[in-house]
């Protein structure tokens, strides 16, 4: 298929290879959309409730603000079976290695929501004992402010994360 070659674009590849790329792009886009949709609909959080935010996370999963509407009623205890880690609560210096270990044990693809100001930035505890933001330890996808954030705020964060997953595109 004749392709208009731009200056510097796909230099070194022949016109046939470029065509293959476009065909593969079409296939992979559809595959991407399907897999992203499946991933965001059935994210399983790992239980990582630490402090007060954990209670609000449990309240979000309970009857009144139901997380299973988005496929998340199952909080997997084993990180090997989870793909979302909601760090809910203040992370102390003693807990930080355990946090990193749990994150490492989760298989790809994985996401992290940092729930509450203590997890996002240390919160009101700017002192020796609290890790000033879990993004110093694990890469965070969505930050949720609040002390503790209302269940509606956590739901909004989860929807934002789902939006991010949907548009992510991991195959290309």
């Amino acid at each position: 298929m004749p392709v208009e070659r731009l200056e510097g674009f796909q230099a070194g590849k022949g016109s046939d290879d470029a065509g293959e790329d476009v065909k593969r792009g079409l296939l992979l886009t559809s595959l991407d959309r399907a897999s992203s949709w499946a991933r965001k609909q059935s994210m399983w959080p790992a239980t990582f409730g630490l402090a007060c935010c954990a209670i609000e996370m449990m309240a979000t999963g309970a009857g009144d603000y139901d997380l299973s509407r988005w496929g998340m009623e199952l909080f997997r205890a084993s990180p090997r079976q989870a793909d979302l880690m909601i760090v809910a609560g203040r992370v102390s210096q003693k807990m930080a290695p355990a946090l990193r270990q749990i994150y490492d044990q989760m298989p790809e693809p994985k996401w992290v929501i940092s729930m509450g100001v203590c997890a996002s930035a240390g919160g009101m505890f700017t002192n020796y004992a609290v890790v000033q933001g879990v993004d110093t330890i694990v890469p965070v996808d969505v930050y949720v402010p609040g002390c503790p954030p209302k269940p509606e705020m956590l739901m909004f964060a989860i929807l934002k994360l789902q939006e991010k997953v949907r548009t992510e595109g991991r195959f290309r």
Binding site: A51, A59, D64, G89, K94, M95, F125, N127, Y128
Partner: protein, 425 residues
């Protein structure tokens, strides 16, 4: 307790059959675990399914609250202290404010005392509901988890209406409470009094004679009264052993001496007794709330008048939580320069507390919560020590768990109801 080994012996002392015993297995439970009530780590040495030794390791939630309080004003201490035992925030605040008020030598208005009792008792019910939900879920009764949080939402709606926040409210402050009840709150609380007794009855009928629940809880985790007192255990765990220690009855604070209620005790000292006690305590709390509502019919001030102590602003619940009322903002910005200066001084520097030290105990849902406050006459606390009930109660867990089965360890911890925020502070 076996005096030689220092361990409590179960039905068959595992150390007696040493020839047949194979090597014991040391496993780690936590800190991230669905059944340990937070970030508690247990180092268990197991002989098959029997627990030989159990060592709880805490500190995974240490937040440095006590040190942080020393660098903040007295009023800001309330927001720090309230996050220690996060399931009973009103009790933390109440203990702290009572301690500071004793040091200041002031008496809060009666309506403020009634409001403090009202919110403390509602907090007790909310905390016991979380206990019921998580204990049920850990022992396998997953539907109780949803039921417990359903009732709790009703209580949290009232808290949000009155204080602006669902948890960690900073509502009880030095000199009283920060705001009076908004219109409509009394009706909501009366609605609560209509609904909750039936729900508690529902939980009782679901669990109390359920053979699985009874099997897992009756006779499990026995802690005798002498052991409990020696280990510093307080709260439902101590009352399950027959000791009627309840700070509300023994050393009444905030007007508790004038309310009619019972300190609930049982004498079987096992997990089932603690379950019964907590259900009954929820009913007693409802009775106290009803008495509070009677006393709230007469209006009155909710904060002391002394301008050197009271929080200067009138607050109201706005779209983003608590904020200064518009009338007050108009007053300080447009009407009175003096009021503005006074507001500024009170907010930045705050109360000056004469030096001395005070230990103030309150009865939190988990036991005796004490606040030991030391002042050197400045605007900041010199030392704030939170004596948390769960810190002492967790020390009793090895005594209750050793010699029993691994599955009973979960039941025991659930019945002790630790909140690791208070343990680790």
């Amino acid at each position: 307790m076996n005096p030689d080994t220092g361990r409590s012996s179960g039905p068959a002392d595992p150390l007696s059959t040493t020839e047949l015993r194979q090597e014991t297995m040391v496993i780690n439970m936590g800190p991230q675990h669905p059944s340990t009530h937070g970030v508690l780590r247990l180092l268990l040495e197991l002989d098959g399914e029997t627990v030989v030794t159990c060592k709880p390791i805490v500190g995974y939630l240490h937040t440095g609250i006590e040190k942080n309080c020393e660098y903040r004003t007295w009023q800001q201490g309330v927001t720090f202290v309230t996050r220690a035992d996060y399931l009973a925030p009103f009790h933390n605040e109440l203990a702290y404010c009572l301690a500071v008020e004793r040091m200041l030598g002031i008496e809060v208005p009666p309506r403020a005392q009634v409001l403090r009792v009202l919110f403390s008792e509602m907090n007790r019910i909310a905390s016991h509901l979380v206990w019921l939900a998580t204990a049920g879920m850990e022992l396998g009764a997953v539907s109780i988890m949803l039921f417990g949080f359903r009732e709790r939402e009703m209580l949290l709606d009232i808290f949000e209406m009155a204080t602006g926040l669902r948890m960690n409210h900073a509502y009880i402050r030095i000199g009283g409470v920060i705001m009076d009840l908004p219109p409509g709150a009394i009706e909501m609380i009366e609605g609560l009094l209509d609904v909750v007794p039936g729900r508690i009855h529902e939980y009782e009928s679901l669990l109390a004679r359920n053979p699985i629940w009874v099997e897992r809880n009756a006779g499990v985790g026995i802690l005798s009264a002498g052991d409990a007192i020696a280990l510093g255990v307080t709260g439902p765990t101590l009352r399950a052993a027959g000791v009627p220690k309840d700070v509300r009855k023994d050393e009444p604070y905030s007007g508790y001496g004038s309310y009619e209620f019972d300190a609930v005790t049982r004498d079987t000292a096992d997990c089932y007794a603690r379950f019964e006690i907590r259900l009954e305590e929820m009913r007693q709390s409802l009775g106290i709330i009803e008495q509070c509502l009677d006393r709230l019919r007469e209006p009155g001030p909710v904060m002391v008048e002394d301008p050197k102590v009271r929080w200067p602003a009138q607050l109201e619940v706005g779209p983003d939580g608590i904020g200064n009322s518009t009338a007050y903002v108009t007053h300080i910005m447009e009407e009175s320069m003096e009021a503005l200066i006074h507001h500024f001084k009170m907010v930045t520097e705050g109360v000056k507390v004469p030096d001395g030290e005070v230990y103030q105990p309150v009865e939190s849902p988990r036991g005796e919560l004490g606040m030991y406050v030391v002042s050197d006459g400045e605007h900041r606390p010199y030392r704030v020590k939170i004596r948390d009930p769960s810190f002492a109660n967790l020390q009793a867990v090895p005594t209750m768990v050793e010699g029993g089965l691994l599955a009973d360890a979960v039941a025991v911890i659930a019945s002790v109801d630790p909140v690791l925020g208070g343990v680790d502070r």
